[in-house]
């Protein structure tokens, strides 16, 4: 399973709920639906290629990791 972020295109923002359903139907575990147009969650590598074909999906990207230095570091 890989953590992904699906970007929904502007024209489909009003139907983002339906898009989330379509993604679930194709195997995505949906964790969040954000009104600015992002659906986050996870999917298996097998199912991942099928997600981009859902109408209204602008991009499917693997989530990036962000890491700060530890609190005692001088350069933050």
């Amino acid at each position: 399973m890989v953590n992904i972020c699906v970007t929904v295109d502007r024209e489909h923002l009003s139907t983002i709920g339906d898009i989330a359903e379509a993604l679930r139907a194709r195997g995505m575990q949906v964790t969040q639906v954000l009104q600015t147009g992002f659906i986050t969650g996870s999917v298996s590598e097998d199912c991942r290629p099928t997600l981009a074909a859902v109408s209204g999906v602008q991009a499917v990207d693997e989530q990036l990791q962000f890491q700060l230095p530890p609190p005692e570091a001088e350069i933050q």
């Binding site: 969040q32 600015t36 147009g37 986050t40 969650g41 989530q63 990791q65 890491q67």
Partner: protein, 435 residues
């Protein structure tokens, strides 16, 4: 309070002068009059000053104003601009300047100047001098600052960063402006923030918004700290802004797109004008979700600001690169400066290509700010410290101008102090607060 003088050498010297040379500009003998925009009819104002023969751009019905046709007039009015060029006696000028009886009808009266194409010889000399100067600077070494002059310093009254950005003398406070800082959360019990409007939200599963790292409290301090802290110097810019502290990084300092995008979504829905993100991933390609998020935020009047990144090792010849999310074309990337307004060794340089530019710079070396209790205060360095300076200054401009989104981005860039450091490192320069 006496402020230290601006250090010489780091920014453009005031005597740089005009490229056209030392002679005073020639004038035509006429005057350019700027009228207030609130409904004063320029022609009637001119009439009360004794200027009756007035040509107006409206008379040309969409054609350009023809100078031959207006040559005989006392005044030509450019209606769309609310500006007129007039031939007037000193008495008529005096009458114009005092028109309106106390109401600001005429904003300015200035001599009409003669303009010239820049003489080719002057341009080429200027270019040659510029190349020679640049070559000399490069010869001094990759990490060289401009000639060392006096540096800004923390005083008992204020941090060097607030002096450099001219925040100390700013009349603005960020009142009425909501500023979101997406980071490790906030120590809401910090004594310096008693009585402030603070909205806290965690987007990190299993962790409350309380800051268990320190980074978030430090950044919120810089952006929004109080005018008069409980102890020590002032370290915060938008001291009356409404604080939205979104925890998108865990107490261990880690986060993912899911949490950060949720934080952005929350800040946009919550009516924040500015969102400060002192976080990044060392990925050179712009990440599509942040490109979309930045653009959609701007469309809704929200300016996203992010740290450029600390992945440079300039003394070793590694200039680093602007990472995600700062390298999104629609997110403002902030580089770091030290007390001499030079670029510290770690501050990331612009990537070639769209979005990867450093847009502006802010104080990012030995920045004193708030820290979770019982520590209370701490000095840190990083582009993480520069970004909240830009965010705090943005909040002041948002209050001062009413601008949001793209217009707010523009005013920050326009009003930045241009520096001698390369734009690849500092963009348009050091962010400066409205006065």
């Amino acid at each position: 309070m006496i402020e230290p003088e601006l250090p010489a050498g780091a920014s453009i010297p005031p005597e740089a002068g005009s490229p056209a040379g030392p002679e005073a500009a020639a004038t035509t003998g006429r005057y350019v009059v700027v009228f207030a925009e609130d409904g004063y009819e320029p022609a009637s104002v001119l009439g009360t000053a004794g200027l009756a023969n007035v040509a107006s751009s409206r008379d040309f019905h969409g054609r350009a104003v023809d100078a031959a046709e207006t040559a005989g007039a006392d005044a030509t009015v450019f209606d769309t601009l609310g500006i007129a060029v007039v031939s007037a006696s000193p008495e008529q000028l005096a009458a114009l300047q005092t028109a309106g009886g106390g109401q600001p009808v005429v904003l300015s009266v200035s001599p009409e100047l003669v303009h010239h194409v820049l003489a080719p010889a002057d341009y080429v000399h200027g270019y040659r001098d510029g190349v020679a100067d640049l070559a000399a600077r490069l010869d001094r070494g990759a990490a060289a600052a401009p000639a060392a002059g006096p540096a800004f310093e923390d005083t008992s009254q204020s941090t060097w960063g607030l002096q450099a950005t001219r925040t100390v003398q700013s009349a603005w406070s960020g009142q009425g402006v909501r500023v979101a800082v997406l980071d490790t959360g906030f120590d809401a019990a910090h004594p310096d923030f008693a009585g402030r409007s603070i909205t806290l939200q965690s987007f990190v599963e299993g962790e409350p918004p309380q800051d268990g790292h320190g980074h978030g409290t430090h950044c919120i301090g810089t952006a929004c700290g109080p005018r008069t802290p409980s102890a020590g110097p002032r370290y915060g810019i938008a001291h009356q802004a409404e604080i939205f502290a979104g925890k998108v990084l865990s107490n261990a300092g880690s986060g993912t797109d899911a949490g950060i995008l949720a934080g952005i979504d929350w800040a946009v829905a919550g009516g924040c004008a500015v969102v400060s993100m002192s976080l990044g991933a060392d990925v050179a390609q712009a990440h599509p979700p942040y490109t979309a998020a930045g653009q959609r935020a701007l469309d809704r009047g929200v300016l996203l600001i992010a740290a450029a990144g600390n992945n440079a090792q300039r003394p070793q010849g590694n200039f680093g690169f602007v990472g995600v999310p700062a390298n999104s074309p629609y997110i403002m990337a902030v580089g770091a400066l030290d007390q001499q307004l030079a670029v510290p060794y770690f501050s990331a340089r612009s990537l070639p290509g769209r979005g990867g530019q450093v847009d502006v710079a802010g104080p990012g070396w030995q920045v004193y700010s708030s820290w979770p209790m019982p520590g209370r205060y701490r000095s840190l360095s990083g582009t993480s410290m520069a970004a909240p300076h830009a965010a705090g200054v943005a909040a002041l401009w948002a209050e001062a101008t009413g601008y949001r989104g793209r217009e707010l981005w523009s005013v920050l860039v326009q009003e930045a102090d241009r520096l001698l450091a390369p734009s690849a490192d500092v963009g348009s320069g050091l962010v400066i607060a409205p006065q």
